[in-house]
């Protein structure tokens, strides 16, 4: 079945072609047919993925690697690129949850977009196109095909953010996302060029992952750092990290299923995936890893701080996404690639659920407002309240997701977040500062998420007369909510840490991919540490065997691990308790502020109005960018237009045009239409040729 992996991207592509070319006609006949085609294609794709995933599991761990070359793509000189896919634990893990969640969100969209007349088919075309691109990004076995997917998802993101483009604000948000991403894409591209030429100097002209990672030691330290940093800039745009995160909150202008699918669960995590995929490369550059960890931690707390005071339900979720992505990068940066990917997985479940839940809320609010012809903002939490009784399914599923993201023990978010925090503390590249930042951000996350829940679902309804019209959403929307709620609740049990008596299946599964580089060394070292003294010697032996170049360092870690073995087990429990306590504290505060004494937030906002305004206006980052980058750029563009283009280029072009015009009139004299003059021209040419060749003959 492995050889049929190409079916996975092909099915969505077929959906794009059918609905894209004939959608308008199909929609005129039957709207149902549109979503049957779109969802059916994803279902087929998912089925194939499941079968391949199952077969992959049947193989022993060290044989879980397979490449399928489908087509020659570009063959030019030393550049040999193929449309080729790679089947390994990492790619299949991503494919499973991306396509699975994608399928749920396709189903959800049926209910959410049903009333969008005339554009229904277009929405599904874009969604299918997104799935096609995302699958290529994930399954690619080389950087170039990955980049194709990378660009494709960017395009779909743009198209879907501006889906309701008749409102100019949406169109602008789309442009912002696209342009910000271009900055990152450019860096990614340059990084790819450097990698290609860097390895090419040593005769390895390839962008194929397996080739690159086996020859990566040819790169010098500085080359690796440069490439990693450029790749990471690409990630900061795609995965919304400082400084290029600004587009993601605005991207919420798109329909909510889009926010859930693209801007929470899948596309924004592609940066994390890319770094995990390149873990061998990143392991070569401790500096780049440090940058990744630092940026991740800062983003986590920075975005969380903005989330504290936002009133738009989707904006809160957007900042929480940015913050959670920060966690993932923190994990990657300290060398815990598997932990980062684990958080990608659990985050996909609970964040998709949160967005879909918020979508259900907005859908209900919108309908209620529509009924009473009120034009208030259906996304503003200040207009909500008391939805618990009116939309019970939405509420309970939403609550599960909130518990998960807050890191309450037992729910999926707890396991992944806690693992990252522990690695941030204990890994050789971690430090207590990174842990502290992460833990505080976790507390803030619990606070703003429960603030959201309390404002939306508790207390009295603040929507005025629209209140009695608020109803639960259709089954096509609540169905996916329930499935995701189940996953958000239990998804974490895939990776129960050793400290809690689990066997961490998730890590074992990803081991063959993450074990290629230093990541393995660090991982082994820390694992040895938590297991205690007896494993240390074994790990050290393993390490020496794994990479001769890193022996000294790795053995050092192992020895350290052996020394602190028993101690660190205690530390892990202690840190776990502290972070859970912080989360509970956050929830408690939210409870006091938004249920018990609801006058406190306003009083606080007044008292510390400076800070409140700073947070409410998102630290004025947009304004800062406008001042520092956009305005000067616009001024320069104006200069280019009036000064260079009109003044110089047009002048030259007009001048040339005049000369050409004059020339044309001369030529026209020859091009008279008379055969005789044409013959003269032939004779003239003949004479010149004869003269030339006779001169040569002399």
């Amino acid at each position: 079945m492995f050889d049929y992996i190409w079916l996975v991207p092909v099915f969505p592509a077929i959906g794009v072609l059918i609905n894209g070319l004939l959608g308008r006609r199909i929609e005129a006949v039957s709207k149902h047919l549109i979503h049957w085609i779109a969802c059916g294609m994803i279902a087929l794709s998912f089925t194939v993925t499941c079968v391949i995933f199952y077969q992959l599991l049947q193989l022993p761990g060290d044989q879980r690697f397979y490449q399928v070359t489908c087509l020659d793509w570009i063959q030019s000189g030393v550049l040999q690129t193929y449309i080729a896919y790679q089947i390994d634990p990492l790619s299949m893990m991503m494919a499973m949850f991306v396509i699975g969640i994608g399928f749920l969100i396709h189903i959800y969209s049926i209910g959410y977009m049903w009333e969008d007349e005339g554009r229904y088919y277009r929405f599904f075309v874009y969604l299918n196109l997104f799935m096609f691109s995302m699958i290529n990004l994930i399954l690619a076995n080389n950087y170039l095909l990955m980049f194709l997917g990378w660009e494709g998802v960017g395009l779909c993101s743009y198209l879907l953010i501006g889906f309701w483009f008749d409102d100019e604000a949406n169109a602008i948000a789309g442009k912002k996302a696209f342009i910000t991403n271009r900055v990152g894409d450019f860096a990614f591209l340059i990084g790819m060029f450097l990698l290609f030429t860097g390895l090419g100097e040593h005769g390895v002209w390839s962008l194929q992952f397996s080739e690159v990672f086996t020859h990566v030691h040819y790169l010098s330290q500085s080359q690796a750092t440069m490439i990693c940093l450029l790749f990471f800039i690409g990630c900061t745009a795609k995965s919304a990290q400082i400084p290029l995160y600004v587009w993601l909150p605005d991207a919420m202008a798109g329909p909510t299923p889009v926010s859930a699918l693209i801007h929470a669960a899948t596309m924004v995590t592609s940066g994390v995936y890319m770094i995990s995929r390149s873990n061998v490369l990143f392991s070569m550059s401790p500096f780049a890893m440090g940058v990744v960890a630092t940026v991740g931690a800062l983003t986590a707390i920075f975005a969380a701080s903005i989330g504290l005071v936002q009133n738009d339900i989707k904006k809160v979720l957007a900042y929480s996404t940015v913050s959670q992505l920060g966690y993932m990068f923190l994990g990657l940066g300290v060398g815990a690639f598997a932990a980062g990917m684990f958080h990608v997985l659990t985050h996909a479940f609970f964040k998709a659920l949160l967005f879909l839940g918020s979508g259900a809320v907005i859908h209900s609010m919108h309908h209620a407002y529509h009924k009473v012809h009120c034009h208030d903002d259906p996304q503003d939490m200040r207009n909500m309240g008391g939805l618990k009784a009116k939309t019970p399914i939405t509420f309970w599923t939403f609550l599960i997701a909130t518990l998960a993201i807050s890191g309450i023990p037992g729910f999926s978010g707890f396991f992944s977040k806690d693992e990252i925090l522990w690695q941030a503390w204990s890994s050789p590249q971690g430090s207590w500062i990174l842990w502290l930042i992460g833990a505080v951000a976790a507390g803030m996350t619990a606070f703003y998420m429960f603030r959201l829940v309390f404002m939306t679902f508790f207390n009295e309804c603040r929507a005025g007369e629209a209140c009695e019209h608020i109803h639960e959403s259709p089954p096509s929307m609540t169905g996916p909510l329930c499935v995701l709620a189940f996953l958000a609740a239990v998804g974490g049990y895939l990776g129960v840490p050793h400290a809690l008596g689990g066997s961490n299946l998730f890590h074992q599964f990803l081991e063959p991919v993450m074990g290629l580089g230093d990541g393995k060394l660090l991982h082994d070292a820390t694992q040895a540490a938590s297991h205690g003294v007896e494993h240390a010697a074994q790990a050290a032996g393993h390490l020496m065997h794994a990479a001769a170049g890193h022996v000294a360092e790795a053995a050092g870690h192992a020895a350290e691990g052996a020394e602190h073995g028993g101690e660190s087990m205690f530390m892990e429990y202690l840190l776990m308790v502290v972070s859970v306590a912080l989360a509970c504290f956050g929830i408690l505060i939210a409870y006091i502020f938004y249920i018990r004494k609801r006058e406190i937030p306003a009083a606080l906002a007044e008292k510390y109005s400076f800070i409140h305004r700073l947070l409410l206006n998102k630290w004025y980052v947009d304004e800062l960018y406008d001042l520092v980058i956009i305005s000067p750029l616009r001024g320069f563009a104006y200069f280019l237009w009036r000064g260079v283009d009109v003044g110089v280029v047009d002048y030259i072009v007009n001048g040339v045009a005049r000369v050409v015009g004059w020339g044309s009139s001369v030529v026209r004299y020859i091009q008279s239409g008379y055969v005789q003059s044409y013959a003269v021209s032939v004779v003239f040419g003949t004479v010149v040729l004869l003269a030339y060749y006779f001169l040569k003959a002399l």
């Binding site: 570009i74 063959q75 044409y678 030339y692 060749y693 003959a697």
Partner: protein, 487 residues
């Protein structure tokens, strides 16, 4: 006693061409015996013949031989040219069937059989290995085309076009034949392979006036057919007047065939002279593309515009000729095929732009077409993008191969001029697209809904353009293998 060797009748070597010729004859016969209704089947019949020729072409591929006492070279190069010609004929016939609505005259046996005979001649030009054979093939092709160009008998422009092409063509053929004669006088043979070995064996005889004059005159003759500056003057008038479908056919087929003969004669017979012709062909390439592009800008008739554009393309192809390496010759083959798809496609769209007896060939007629006739607008855009050399179309890859090979061989300036010219050409290619999508129509034009065959032709051409642009490897490998086998 003079020994006379009867050449073996090697039918297999010429099977595709034979099928073309037999189909042409069959079409003529059917036309005579079938009634008025039977005439509608002529196009379909021709189509079957061309497809059969294509199939046999692929089936008989791989034989590498010299047939008919050295008259024909059955080699990869000839294979590729025949492939281009058959595809061109196929697309032209598809377009012609739908063009019957606009121009009823062409619904006749003469039209289709002449078209097939022309293809027959073109194909032999690609594999002829003897100067006399080249001349015969060239005349078979040219005479058919002269008649085809004037096929709209009651249209003055069409007749003018045919007459002009005939007069000047005959004039140029004279030069070509005289060139052949001089070469024969110098070397005593007309066999291209033998000429090659003769001049390698006698380098001292190379630079005598007889040879040099012959080469110069041959350049004139071939230069005329490929529309090289300054022998290009006939192109706009002929392209404009000829029925659109014929224009598409000759803009691609004649150019491919003539280029094939030019490459074979110069690189097989006169390879030893390569250093001598480089300079003059360098200048010719530069002038050809520059003149073509600059004058194309000021055209208001789309057929004239594409005529000048085809001159410019001859210039790009000449860059490949100047470079002359094996890869450059592959690039020429690749470029010719990509150009054929795009150009026939564009003329197919133009031929669709008309109703009975009336054609809309002014650039202003294309205003608003993009939205009114989405299929025509979209495919036309693809073809124009390809001609302009914008990825992901075939034209981009073609230019890429030619220019990159030019740079590798040290012709950096020629490549730079080529790129500058591509930029200039963007202006008029994109101008059409701008008109199609961003301007409102000036006058009401009503055209018939595209017939099935036209849709098939447009789809096939667009598919070819995109296939070669996105996945160039298949055709490129084929072109590489073909150029390697040049006898």
């Amino acid at each position: 006693m003079l020994e006379f060797v009867v050449p073996a009748l090697n039918l297999k070597a010429i099977l595709p061409q034979l099928i073309l010729a037999l189909t042409a004859l069959t079409v003529l016969l059917v036309d005579v015996f079938a009634g008025k209704d039977g005439k509608t089947s002529l196009g379909g019949l021709s189509l079957i013949g061309v497809v059969a020729a294509l199939v046999t072409l692929f089936l008989s591929r791989g034989d590498f031989e010299s047939a008919y006492a050295g008259m024909l070279a059955v080699d990869g190069f000839g294979f590729f040219i025949t492939l281009i010609i058959c595809l061109v004929a196929l697309l032209s016939i598809l377009v012609a069937i739908s063009y019957e609505k606009v121009c009823p005259e062409i619904r006749s046996g003469e039209f289709y059989s002449l078209l097939l005979f022309a293809a027959f001649g073109m194909s032999f030009m690609g594999s002829a290995s003897n100067l006399i054979m080249i001349f015969v093939a060239l005349e078979t092709m040219s005479i058919s085309i002269y008649v085809l160009a004037g096929f709209k008998r009651d249209n003055l422009k069409s007749i003018e076009s045919a007459l002009k092409y005939f007069l000047l063509g005959a004039f140029a053929s004279g030069f070509l034949l005289f060139g052949f004669a001089l070469i024969y006088g110098a070397a005593g043979t007309l066999d291209i392979v033998k000429l090659g070995s003769f001049f390698t064996a006698h380098p001292d005889l190379l630079h005598q006036p007889l040879v040099m004059g012959g080469v110069a005159l041959m350049t004139v003759g071939f230069g005329f057919k490929i529309a090289m500056f300054p022998f290009h003057m006939w192109t706009p008038d002929v392209y404009e007047g000829a029925p659109s479908v014929v224009t598409g056919f000759m803009a691609t087929g004649v150019k491919a065939a003539a280029f094939a003969a030019l490459v074979r004669v110069f690189f097989v017979a006169f390879a030893a002279l390569q250093t001598d012709w480089t300079t003059i062909m360098w200048i010719a390439a530069l002038l050809t593309m520059t003149v073509g592009n600059l004058i194309a800008i000021s055209q208001t008739n789309i057929k004239r515009m594409l005529a000048y554009s085809s001159i410019a393309h001859a210039g790009y192809l000449l860059i490949g000729f100047v470079v002359g390496s094996e890869i450059a010759r592959s690039a020429i083959l690749f470029y010719l095929l990509g150009y054929a798809f795009a150009n026939i496609g564009a003329f197919a769209v133009i031929s669709a732009m008309g109703s009975k007896g009336e054609e809309y060939n002014e650039l202003s007629d294309f205003q608003g077409v993009g939205f009114k006739y989405p299929m025509l607008g979209l495919t036309m855009s693809i073809f124009l993008f390809s001609m302009a050399g914008i990825p992901p179309a075939a034209g981009f890859m073609g230019k890429f191969f030619i220019f990159s090979e030019a740079i590798k061989a040290g012709y950096v300036w020629l490549a730079i001029f080529g790129v500058i010219n591509s930029v200039i050409s963007l202006y008029y290619y994109l101008g059409v697209i701008v008109r199609m999508y961003f301007k409102d129509p000036e006058r009401e034009i009503s055209i018939a809904a595209p017939a099935g065959t036209l849709v098939a032709a447009l789809s096939l051409a667009a598919f070819g353009v995109l296939q070669m642009g996105i996945f160039p490897s298949y055709v490129w490998d084929l072109a590489r293998a073909s150029a390697k086998m040049l006898m």
